[in-house]
């Protein structure tokens, strides 16, 4: 045997750095030649908590602004979503992300860090959402949702989206005040990087309510999708009989989208607004075939209760869009393949990483699936979302450089 000189390091002595943390993702991107096509990540996050001071300055109501400043944002946390995403220190990036230095050319830290993980994974454009705001719909003070959502959307569009074309977003809608939600669409659509609007689905107002019809019409007229982002609410009556985060998370993140999807379909919203595209985010995929079968079966017996429908519930659901993460990859490949068929994944499934959250998925979760054609992989990883968001085809500077290097070689 030969004795060789290697590189040796002690991981406990290394400072946390996104590029190091994701070095294996970068290797996957290179090995799979992601520079050959565009990757769009439809659901990723930043932590708006790091920018609270700046965001609070955008709160228009001066009384509430003071309240936010002095509670250091706790005004927004009057609710009980909660959870232990960091798994008691097991997921390294939760503990160390704040220590990462990211000052680069005067750019906002969130831009620098976002581009860093995007480049590691081979993502060209990322749709970025906030984090604690996913539970804001539970806030008992309606004005808190309205004021904070407006402040956040102003801050995000002016400081992040306007400054970096590779970062886009679907903006938070304060659904507890339908008029304010509509005004959000009127005021913010057309701004750089605004590719749609977002409903966080941990909320208890039914989306079929007549009060939302003007909102749906406004989105349909503008050709902007409406996205439904799931989360869990440990304080929900049914969730608070669970005692472990795995239970609350596994159920909650599907449950809230299941409820709102069911209401959305049986009340015929897709039939009333046929041009309104919807995207269902972060519930995984297994719930979709379940709900399609369940609703179709009941619809055949009780179509009188859903008379606006002209087709079966699953026919509408198959025309909606779904983000891929967290994809249920454990165990049964045949089941996963069947799921892809049932949701017409080639045209309706869009890749999402959910980075930096604990259950993030890399592009390889799609790229390595043996039952997909290369074209289907490209559609899911980028092309379908590119068309949905009306984006130009762009590759990151890093991927362009790789293509050039390949051509030169």
């Amino acid at each position: 045997m030969n004795v060789m000189t290697p590189i040796v390091r002690d991981p406990n002595q290394q400072k946390f750095d996104t590029a190091n943390h994701l070095a294996h993702a970068a290797q996957q991107a290179e090995d799979r030649r992601y520079e050959d096509f565009m990757i769009v990540d439809v659901d990723s996050h930043h932590y708006e908590t790091g920018s609270y001071k700046d965001i609070f300055q955008y709160i228009e109501d001066p009384v509430m602004r003071d309240q936010f400043v002095y509670t250091k944002g706790q005004t927004m946390m009057l609710r009980s979503t909660g959870g232990f995403q960091e798994m008691a220190g097991r997921i390294a990036r939760y503990e160390y992300r704040n220590s990462e230095q990211a000052a680069e050319g005067g750019r906002h830290k969130d831009i620098t860090l976002t581009l860093k993980w995007m480049d590691a994974m081979g993502v060209d454009v990322a749709c970025v959402f906030p984090t604690p705001m996913l539970g804001l719909g539970l806030n008992p003070i309606v004005e808190v949702e309205v004021q904070y959502a407006r402040a956040y959307n102003r801050w995000l569009t002016e400081h992040i989206l306007a400054a970096e074309p590779r970062i886009v977003s679907m903006l938070y809608l304060p659904m507890n005040d339908p008029a304010a939600a509509l005004k959000m669409v009127e005021d913010f659509s057309g701004r750089q990087g605004v590719v749609g609007f977002l409903v966080t689905t941990v909320r208890y107002k039914p989306l079929y309510s007549n009060v939302y019809m003007k909102l749906y019409r406004a989105l349909e007229e503008r050709g902007l999708p409406i996205a439904f982002h799931a989360a869990t609410n440990w304080g929900d009556q049914s969730m608070n009989i669970t005692n472990r985060f795995i239970a609350s998370h596994a159920l909650g993140f599907t449950w809230f989208n299941i409820v709102h999807m069911t209401n959305w379909v049986v009340n015929g919203v897709p039939e009333r607004f046929p041009g309104l595209k919807s995207i269902w985010i972060e519930s995984g995929l297994a719930w979709v075939p379940f709900l399609m079968q369940r609703l179709d079966n009941e619809y055949m017996m009780r179509s009188s209760e859903a008379p606006t429908l002209k087709r079966k519930p699953s026919d509408y659901m198959r025309e909606m869009y779904y983000t891929s993460q967290p994809m249920e990859m454990i165990g049964n490949r045949t089941m996963l393949e069947e799921t892809f068929k049932m949701i017409a994944a080639d045209t309706q499934l869009v890749y999402a990483s959910d980075y930096p959250h604990w259950d993030m998925d890399l592009p390889s979760t799609i790229y390595d699936l043996p039952f997909l054609s290369l074209q289907a992989k490209k559609n899911i990883l980028g092309e379908t979302a590119r068309k949905l968001f009306k984006l130009d085809t762009v590759l990151s500077p890093q991927k362009q450089a790789r293509l050039k290097a390949r051509a030169a070689a």
Binding site: M1, N2, V3, M4, T5, P6, I7, V8, R9, D10, P11, N12, H21, A23, H24, A25, Q27, Q28, M87, A88, G89, R90, I91, A92, R93, W358, D359, M360, D361, L362, S364, T365
Partner: protein, 121 residues
């Protein structure tokens, strides 16, 4: 196959880990209770750097004889390697994935000689 020098025996104490990179292969070398273990730094889940996370003992539920739940504790004899990407856990002593032993970290031999630690890559 080559014996790759990691460090001198004096440099590693119980609980320590070193990552060795030789060309494209990365291996994590652990010292636990005076013994050495080495595994490919590649998680069976999504290819994360499994050997760069924390070591955390296996969590166990404590049940009373009548099966009621009394609380939780750590099993000091069963340390787990935790992948820092999503928290998959592997048994440090065997490389088996804790909830599914069919999945494993690839094992590498460790050689101790002349006061040095070497890993076979």
């Amino acid at each position: 196959m080559a014996q790759v020098f990691v460090c001198s025996e004096l440099e590693m104490k119980d609980g320590d880990v070193r990552i060795v990179r030789q060309d494209r292969v990365e291996v994590g070398i652990y010292r636990h209770a005076g013994s050495y273990y080495a595994y490919r730094n590649l998680c069976a889940h999504q290819g994360g750097p499994a050997c760069e996370g924390i070591i955390r003992n296996k969590v166990v539920d404590i049940l009373a004889p009548d099966k009621s739940f009394l609380g939780q504790t750590y099993d000091e004899d069963e340390p787990h390697i935790v992948c820092p990407w999503h928290g998959w856990e592997y048994k440090l002593k065997t490389g088996e994935c804790a909830p599914d032993p069919k999945l494993k970290l690839r094992r590498h031999d460790v050689v101790q000689r002349e006061g040095g630690i070497y890993v076979v890559i």
